[in-house]
């Protein structure tokens, strides 16, 4: 039993060490990072949109973390924006960095597509805007009505993607999600990023406080 205990305690100690280096130290370092002054907290509606984004698993195809152009030039060249810094995520809980780019990075989608009508139409059926898109449609975020009531947000869908008769109106969830998309705009300068990377291989070295 002594030996069995020694193995288990040894195993636990090693994991404890890993927890210190991979969980505690980064947390201490990153929570001390400066929050960019131009970053706004989410509004209630945007936060609700963020929950819709989480509930429908957008993160499984879209990242929110452009990489440094000296490391991966495609990210900036595609218009996805400057490399992100920890401060950019100060209001993100949980994080939605993502690990897949089946679709494009969304860190600055609000700056690339600032029209709410574009966002809603794209959510209703991505193929109505982008031929050959493999993003799913989200018809359940919309209602099909014969006559839109007052205050309804009508989404004009080009044929043949819309219904034969009546109108498509956005639900509260769809509007919230679209507002969250528009809020994804990190085009402000990042205070913790060096203006010019002094060393192109490891530009982030200087970012540590």
């Amino acid at each position: 039993m002594k030996r069995a205990l020694a193995i288990m305690v040894g195993a636990a100690l090693i994991l404890l060490l890993a927890t210190l280096t991979l969980v505690v130290m980064p947390y201490l370092q990153m929570s001390a990072e400066q929050v960019p002054p131009d970053l706004k907290p989410y509004t209630e509606q945007q936060q609700r949109g963020r929950q819709v984004y989480i509930a429908n698993g957008c993160v499984y195809c879209h990242s929110q973390q452009p990489r440094d152009p000296s490391f991966a030039p495609g990210d900036k060249d595609r218009g996805w924006g400057r490399p992100s810094v920890p401060g950019d995520y100060a209001y993100d809980e949980p994080h939605l960095l993502g690990t897949m780019r089946t679709g494009p990075d969304l860190f600055n989608i609000g700056a690339r597509q600032p029209s709410i009508d574009w966002q809603l139409m794209h959510l209703y059926n991505p193929r109505a805007i982008i031929k050959g898109s493999i993003m799913p449609s989200y018809p359940f975020l919309f209602r099909h009505v014969e006559e839109p009531a007052e205050g309804d947000k009508v989404v004009n869908i080009p044929p043949p993607y819309g219904p034969e008769t009546g109108k498509i109106v956005a639900t509260e969830d769809a509007l919230a999600l679209a507002e969250y998309m528009l809020a994804l705009d990190h085009t402000y300068p990042a205070p913790t990023l060096p203006k010019k990377p002094p060393n192109s291989d490891e530009p982030k070295e200087n970012r540590a406080p």
Binding site: M1, R3, A4, A6, M8, G10, A11, A12, L13, I14, L15, L17, A18, T19, L22, V23, M25, P26, Y27, M30, S31, E33, I54, A55, N56, G57, V59, S63, Q65, F71, A72, P73, G74, D77, R78, P83, S84, V85, P86, Y89, Y91, D92, E93, P94, H95, L97, M100, I130, G132, S133, I134, M135, P136, Y138, P139, F140, E202, E205, R207, A208
Partner: protein, 538 residues
């Protein structure tokens, strides 16, 4: 610069000190000197040289002609029967979750190239069924089957009946309730939002409790053990059962880690689930099955201990290689890359032991279903791990990150390595628990070929397409939609591969149920890939 270097130096120093202390402890406690004797603890006196799963007609069988052999066989039978209820609870559940997870995986795959497939209902949208697939196969199939096999191995490794098996049965029920609630929560859109941690944290408590209840029989049986040496498999199993609750608890602490530091915790956890939970279980099973079926001890017990401690040390710190290029401190990424590359040490030591023990016995793969599944799994562990070390390098990762290449790699690990070993173990365990042989040899064969061809198509198509996708993404000259179109044939091929794997699982589940219902003819002979003539079953 200076604090970063200081931190790295301190970490390196602490790591090497811990490593050194462990080595000294191992030597002081004779972990090394008794090397080959310890490697033989899984055999009864006189059993060495006898295969337990007679893999070829000419095998000398361990029949119980002498009183010593009879006693050993009876002890083994008692050990197996003692864990029967607990093991069957966990294994039967795992087969159910495997089927469910496969269907969700297949539907997710179809949606990737037919985006209008099942879009009307929010409950079946891609972003919900994909996490249902991952969680069902990880926590349902792989974890439950892994725990089931571990419960079967514990009494055998300690040569004493399982004590406290009922705790594991209760744990199994709690774990299943957790899965039902967790998967329903994802379907209803109540996900926690982080990959591998989608289950709402309130539900996660059930997994911690269920897992902890499985540690009870492990500890009680270890306290009762009748063997002096702890065979290497028990090291892996004990460590895994310590690591998982710890990891799962910390990673799920609600609201503790916001923003970018949440991402580091997320990936520290997600890779540890692979490295410190399912990997030790998979390797541990292979360490038992291969020598047991061949009737010869592993070639180097010392290497297996080095492999164990280096796995613990290095694997626990690789997680941040999922965030290379991300918004986190560079030293952290570098630390994980270094450890990812260092992982080649445990991988190679395990490979030497697994494949070295197989040397000269490859012909047995023709007959024994267990050996064939387990050894291919062990081989794929070597392949997937070395591939993983390469993928962690910045120059490779810049291409493979964010692409289907990573998905192929994940399936090479979780499926071709882990699931193959679990399939093999189930084929070994079930006849010993039910005292019944697998009814149809052709179904085992069909299962093997369906899943093998399926995973081959899966991994090859996505690896090639993912690499091309990654190269193209780096150069904005190619429009994004052109890249999407380029990957479409591979996504379709993945559906074909996935469909074959799902079919294979249906065959496997059908056979498993038939086994539980004792269908087919009573036979004294084991069901092998080729008709066997002479040997006895047990």
């Amino acid at each position: 610069m200076t604090p970063t270097i200081a931190i790295l130096l301190i970490i390196t120093f602490v790591l090497s000190t811990v490593g050194l202390l462990l080595l000294i402890w191992s030597i002081a406690n004779n972990q090394f000197s008794h090397g080959q004797a310890a490697a033989r603890t899984i055999f009864s006196p006189g059993e060495e040289g006898h295969s337990e799963d007679p893999a070829r007609p000419s095998d000398p069988t361990f029949t119980g002609n002498t009183s010593e052999q009879t006693a050993a066989i009876e002890a083994r039978w008692t050990a197996d029967q003692s864990s029967r209820t607990a093991v069957l609870t966990w294994l039967s559940s795992s087969v159910f979750w495997l089927l469910l997870g496969s269907f969700f995986g297949l539907a997710s795959s179809i949606k990737m190239h037919l985006p209008e497939f099942l879009t009307a209902s929010e409950f079946l949208t891609f972003g919900r069924i994909r996490p249902v697939h991952l969680n069902a196969v990880t926590y349902g199939w792989a974890s439950m089957a892994g725990i089931g096999v571990a419960l079967f191995l514990i009494p055998r490794l300690f040569k004493t009946p399982l004590v406290g098996g009922k705790y594991a049965v209760i744990g199994g029920f709690i774990w299943n309730i957790g899965l039902v609630l967790g998967l329903s929560a994802i379907t209803l859109g109540l996900s926690d939002g982080e990959e591998w941690l989608e289950f709402p944290w309130q539900i996660d408590i059930l997994f911690v409790v269920g897992g902890a209840l499985c540690a009870v029989p492990l500890l009680l049986t270890a306290a009762n053990r009748k063997v002096e040496h702890l065979y290497v498999t028990s090291w892996y199993l004990m460590a895994a059962l310590v690591w998982f609750p710890f990891l799962f608890l910390i990673a799920n602490l609600p609201f503790a880690f916001p923003g970018a530091s949440g991402a580091t915790v997320n990936w520290w956890f997600a890779h540890n689930v692979l490295g410190l939970w399912v990997t030790p279980i998979g390797i541990g099973i292979a360490y038992y099955m291969i020598p047991k079926i061949l009737g010869r001890p592993i070639i180097s017990y010392q290497l297996s201990l080095i492999g164990f401690w280096s796995l613990a040390l290095f694997y626990s710190q690789v997680g941040i290689h999922h965030l290379i290029g991300g918004p986190i401190p560079t030293w952290l990424v570098t630390l994980s890359i270094v450890h990812s590359v260092m992982m080649s040490i445990p991988v190679i030591t395990v490979a030497i032991n697994h494949h070295g023990t197989m040397m000269g016995n490859f012909s047995r793969l023709k007959d024994s279903p267990t050996l064939r599944f387990v050894w291919i799994g062990a081989l794929m562990y070597t392949v997937a791990s070395l591939q993983g070390s390469m993928e962690a390098l910045r120059s490779i990762n810049v291409i493979t990150h964010f692409t289907h290449y990573t998905v192929a790699h994940a399936h090479l690990g979780m499926y071709a390595f882990l699931s193959f070993i679990l399939f093999g173990a189930v084929y070994f365990i079930m006849p010993r628990l039910t005292n019944w042989e697998w009814p149809w040899r052709k179904l085992i064969s069909l299962h093997f070929w369906l899943v093998s061809i399926g995973i081959l198509i899966y991994v090859v198509s996505l690896t090639i397409a993912g690499w091309k996708q990654g190269v193209a993404l780096l150069d904005a000259a190619m429009p994004f939609m052109d890249i999407v179109k380029m990957t479409l044939p591979a996504l379709q091929a993945r559906t074909v591969g996935g469909a074959l794997m799902t079919l294979g699982h249906l065959v496997f589940a059908f056979h498993f149920i038939a086994m539980l219902m004792r269908r087919g003819a009573a036979t004294e002979q084991p069901t092998l890939f080729r008709p066997a003539t002479k040997e006895n079953a047990q």
